[in-house]
Amino acid sequence: MTTLTLSRALNEGLRKALENNPKTLIMGEDVGKLGGVFRVTDGLQKDFGEARVVDTPLAESGIVGTAVGLALRGYRPICEIQFDGFVFPAFDQIVSQLAKMRYRSLGSVRLPVVIRIPFGGGIGAVEHHSESPEALFAHTPGLRVVACGGPADAYTMIQQAALSDDPVIFFEPKRRYWDKAEVDTDGGLAVAPPMDQARIVAAGTDVTVLCYGPMVRTCGEAAVAAREEGRSIEVIDLRSLAPLDTGTIFESVRKTGRCVVVHEAVVTGGIGAEVAARVTQECFYSLEAPVLRVGAYSTPYPPSRMEEYYLPDLDRILDAVDRTFGY
């Protein structure tokens, strides 16, 4: 056990991935000497060389497109997209090539490509640096979409993503990069749950709160606050957004009868919509109230001086929890 920040945990996980397989590569803008703008790849180029930790030209379509080519040659690229808002120039290569090439080949080719995306707001950044585009990828068959919420998961999930023979869109909660926690760097992967399994962060009986990424911590705090008011929240970190671990979700909702989904992304058409639709369909007779959603309003991400109002926080989560008891 070591105490690591989330950013450091990813760094250690990436190091393991590079050590364990000489075909593993890291590519992206500024991932080399600089170690990435969040230092997630710090020191890796020094130790593994410029051929394995590659500073690419400044073009995201090029990064993903060449990663696809490298994968076809047997490599396992892990691409960094510098910020969430800059994944869109690569969108075509991701949805039309990366996600579909295996299907196109009737299973002849494997595309073990990881696309790391620091996502979400809360760091006082300028435009395009606080986006939450995960629903766009979850709607695209052929991709695995995951998000880590804390250092321990970051460490194991990035390794699992690197080991996956399928493309993985890997979301990292950028405002939690500096959060610290105990990480079991010895036990490692052997004891870690698979990355497509949800995790019960806090057990509870009255209402299920589903979340992922940066909202895991916030929802955990909400559960603590609610407990003081005598309300028992079960917090589940979805971890995998595609596929969803519906088993864990349904079991909890059948128990609690109430459900709130929380994410930073825009509510309309977000992951919460899918979760709500599925939960309602499968737990219809268990539900005491409709699944409520907490997330961003139907506006672009606002200037950062307003973000505290835009982002779901403890109050808005508890407010939604309260509302589920109003039915």
């Binding site: 030209p57 497109g65 696809v68 080519g69 490298l70 047997g74 090539q97 080949s105 080719v109």
Partner: protein
């Protein structure tokens, strides 16, 4: 300003006429040619080509067969056996010349029109028919013949080829006997960001990749001057690597130029852009109607530059081949045609449930559930029909 004026304001400043002139007549000074349209051998100082009569005859065979495959496919489409077909008519030399310049270890990244290259790589044409029939989206194993899947989204494969080439570098598979890649794309594709990004990646990494652009003068209905106002091979210079224009209807020149570029690439001299100057003799695809946008005079002019006829003339004039040889090739081509026609007609539809296959390497629970639900749903119809049948009894 009136609506009409707006039109004039643009045409006054746009250099269309000039661009058109530049593009339509490839300046012979810049066009690498080793076999004239009349079937005479030409020499080029940078591209000496030692080639035996047998080798030329083999190329002739390829040309005739791929044209036949194309012909057959068009017919199959007309008869409703294929959904669509993208004809290579007129581009046989560009494809066979470049395709035969490749070594087994080289990897080719085609568009949707490279049936001639597929042939050279040993891919069964029936697989191509399967794609255009709607039976598969490709479905061959790219590693089997080192021929990647057809790519329909314009330009994407240029980046795949470049990434693959970066893999070759990392494998240490460079050198005289090393590997290289070739990316095919059309004139229209040169406008896509991806193709230009591939030029950048290839040049800064000095990657062993050759960009083979078949400039067939048209991107569906748009003539080249909607994509560029200078010859396309110039583009490479701006990115810091060589670009050359070859007579795309000259199989020998295409062979020599591609071979040299591939060799340079594998030996670490980096990328080359080859512009094969040719013409799309047919429609864009079988659903297109080129009479809406181009003049038949252009077509007639290009007929005189036919890529097969000139090889035939060369062989006959030089007495390198007799009628028997030519007839044999025709017969072989006909046999290939017959075989693929039969195979196409006999091709069963894929089992509906196979649409759930190969989405990911390991099926998700979600997909497994959908697969099962679908199977049950299909069965319900079978049940219904059985019931109906029973009732009928």
């Amino acid at each position: 300003m009136t609506v009409k004026d707006a039109g004039r304001a643009v045409s006054r400043t746009a250099p269309r006429a000039t661009a058109r002139d530049t593009h339509r007549q490839a300046d012979s000074a810049e066009l690498i040619q080793l076999l004239t349209p009349e079937g005479e051998r030409a020499e080029h100082p940078d591209y000496p080509l030692e080639i035996s009569a047998d080798e030329i005859k083999a190329l002739y065979r390829d040309l005739v067969i791929v044209r036949r495959i194309d012909f057959e496919a068009i017919a199959l489409q007309r008869q409703g056996e294929l959904g669509i077909w993208a004809s290579l008519l007129g581009q046989e030399a560009a494809q066979v010349g470049s395709g035969r310049a490749l070594r087994p270890g080289d990897m080719a990244f085609p568009t949707y029109r490279e049936h001639g290259v597929a042939w050279c790589r040993g891919v069964d044409p029936v697989k191509l028919l399967a794609l255009f029939r709607g039976v598969s989206h490709g479905g061959w194993d790219p590693a089997e013949h080192n021929f990647h899947l057809y790519t329909i989204v314009i330009g994407s494969q240029a980046l795949h080829a470049t990434g693959y080439a970066m893999g070759i570098q990392r494998d240490g598979a460079m050198g005289e006997d090393g590997d290289a890649t070739i990316a095919y794309f059309g004139d229209g594709a040169t406008s896509q960001g991806d193709v230009n990004e591939a030029f950048i990646w290839a040049s800064v990494n000095n990657a062993p990749v050759v960009f083979f652009c078949q400039n067939n003068q048209w991107a569906i209905s748009e003539p080249l001057e909607r994509q560029s106002r200078v010859p396309l091979y110039h583009r490479a210079h701006g990115f810091g690597f060589p670009g050359v224009r070859v007579d795309g209807n000259d199989v020998l020149a295409c062979l020599a130029v591609t071979r040299k570029a591939m060799q340079a690439a594998r030996e670490g001299q980096g990328p080359t852009l080859i512009e094969a100057f040719t013409y799309r003799m047919g429609a864009h695809t079988t659903t297109d109607d080129p009479t809406r946008y181009r003049l038949s005079a252009e077509l007639e002019a290009w007929k005189l530059k036919d890529p097969i006829e000139r090889v035939k003339q060369y062989l006959i004039r030089g007495e390198l081949a007799d009628m028997r040889f030519l007839d044999d090739i025709d017969a072989e081509a006909a046999a290939v045609g017959k075989r693929i026609r039969a195979a196409c007609q006999a091709m069963p539809d894929p089992p509906p449930g196979s649409m759930f296959d190969d989405v990911l390497t390991a099926e998700t629970a979600q997909l497994a559930a959908e697969r099962a639900e679908f199977a049950a749903y299909l069965d319900s119809f079978a049940d219904e029909q059985r019931e109906l049948a029973r009732e009928g009894r």
